[in-house]
Symmetry: C2
DNA sequence: GAGCGCATGAGAACCATTGTCAACTCACCG
DNA sequence: CGGTGAGTTGACAATGGTTCTCATGCGCTC
């Protein structure tokens, strides 16, 4: 199993050249545009296979879309403004350590986690106050 | 806007009697069973309106389903086994404090956050090792 | 009580994702 | 190097949660 085919390599290559999170749909569109035709089903399968192998991390958007990113990129979390959508990336060594500890206490291993903080940024609070 | 109708009250009532996270579909089924017929569209609208008003928190399942819960219930996070799906609820005062601090540093207020820890539980590791 | 609008709900539309299945292709064997 | 078979592919259909549409209904205000 896990044969190395042109399509699978193409999908993996996309994540090598791209930073951050990307959807399966986006990968598919990107491959189509770049001339490497890869079927949509295949992109989904490849992406899931990569995620199973631990080469990709996955999260879900608020709209229910699945996003993937190369695992090795340094870990960070998102601080999102609920009004204007502005996003700040924050590192959280405290949280990493806490998650590992909690997971260990419950007998869990091979931990990964996702954390999103949602709030209202200073600008939007000012704008709201002015109205 | 935000009129007080029977349907909206019914949806809100469901979350008063239920602990934890529940999907819109589940709320709809529950209302249907209990005799209060409320349209699916209306459940979605009510749930979103409640979320907008800050009365409900929402997260997404791995399968893309949206889950909601009453905000006031004590805050906790989920530790999920990626193999068998077993879920442990964990409290995280450390994380709460950290999130508040980080958000404050970036000028964000009215913070809420979601945190999911995914790993492999002891049982599933043992099962995997046996195979 | 009358009238204005927002709210409702049945069904259709939407869209990301998953399933299907015949054709294909890679890896290995001889 | 050609054959062989099992894993892969991809066009298309199906699924399922969510959103949209629009005619009808009901809460509110006057």
């Amino acid at each position: 199993m896990a044969r190395t085919t042109r399509q699978r390599a193409a999908v993996a290559a996309v994540f090598d050249t791209l930073e951050g999170f990307h959807s399966a749909q986006e990968v598919h569109a990107r491959l189509r545009t770049s001339g490497d035709g890869v079927g949509l089903s295949t992109v989904y399968r490849a992406v899931q296979a990569l995620a199973d192998d631990g080469e990709l991390d996955s999260i879900r958007t608020d709209s229910g879309e699945a996003l993937y990113r190369r695992c090795s990129t340094q870990h960070h979390h998102h601080l999102v403004c609920r009004t204007c959508g502005r996003t700040v990336e924050v590192a959280g060594p405290t949280v990493e350590a806490w998650a590992d500890r909690i997971a260990g206490e419950h007998g869990f291993a091979d931990i990964s986690h996702t954390l999103e903080i949602v709030g209202t940024c200073a600008d939007c609070r000012a704008a709201a106050a002015a109205s």
